[in-house]
């Protein structure tokens, strides 16, 4: 069965650079979620989109933005990167939202030097 696809899988950036992470949800899933997992931490919710509109917002820094496109894929844009942004970024998708199981992608490991 098709799973959530994330790209790139690994990314190395320097401070103050920008990064764009991509997420391709499971086919027919219309809701996408972004989570950030720091070393040794549990995943923290950043933002979600339902039918191309932002549906919920968590602890996402103002330096980050995201959107969902007409084909339901999503991109997380991160600017003015800081050392503390180094983490594993997960995308999850679900069939509709609210109490639907979220299926996670393999994650993008971002390292900021």
């Amino acid at each position: 069965a098709a799973g959530v696809i994330q790209s790139p899988r690994h990314l190395i950036k320097e401070k103050r650079e920008t990064a764009t992470l991509k997420c391709y949800p499971i086919p027919r899933h219309d809701t996408v979620y972004w989570y950030q997992q720091g070393p040794g931490q549990d995943p923290q919710f950043l933002i979600s989109f339902y039918e191309k509109m932002q549906s919920d917002k968590g602890s996402i820094p103002d330096r980050f933005s995201a959107q969902q496109f007409s084909d339901y894929h999503s991109e997380l844009n991160m600017s003015s990167l800081e050392l503390g942004d180094s983490a594993l970024y997960f995308c999850a998708s679900s069939y509709s939202r609210l109490q639907e199981t979220q299926y996670f992608g393999p994650g993008t490991r971002l390292l900021v030097l």
Binding site: Q99, P106, G107
Partner: protein
């Protein structure tokens, strides 16, 4: 403070032994999800529980949600090295228009031959 507490934090068992991981919340859980994560990789969905007293099984893994919907347990029977990983419980608070899952602190399981 952590909204979801997991215990134990880590577990080392011999292959073939049974084990139980607990997830406790101070608030009523509207949806309880169990995920497994290999180090640095994505979260693999295991099971979702919604009803008080609900119990689900898949292969050698059984998850239960108590009647009050504040505690869940994950039981593995006859553990195998393939069960090794980090087990995370995630909760849906049922707050209207909130998509995010809140995760527990995780339980690291090691199974030795």
């Amino acid at each position: 403070s952590q909204e979801l507490e997991q215990s134990p934090q880590s577990l080392i068992v011999q292959e073939g032994k049974n084990l139980t991981i607990n997830c406790t919340s101070s608030k009523t859980l509207y949806g309880l999800y169990w995920y497994k994560q290999k180090y640095g990789e994505g979260l693999i969905f295991l099971m979702m529980l919604q009803k008080g007293g609900e119990e689900k099984s898949h292969e050698k893994i059984t998850a239960k949600l108590d009647e009050k919907k504040q505690q869940s347990s994950l039981h593995i029977t006859a553990s195998q090295p393939s069960h090794a990983g980090i087990y995370l419980c995630g909760a849906d608070r049922g707050v209207p228009n909130t998509d995010k899952l809140i995760f527990g602190t995780g339980t690291r399981l090691q199974v030795f031959p």
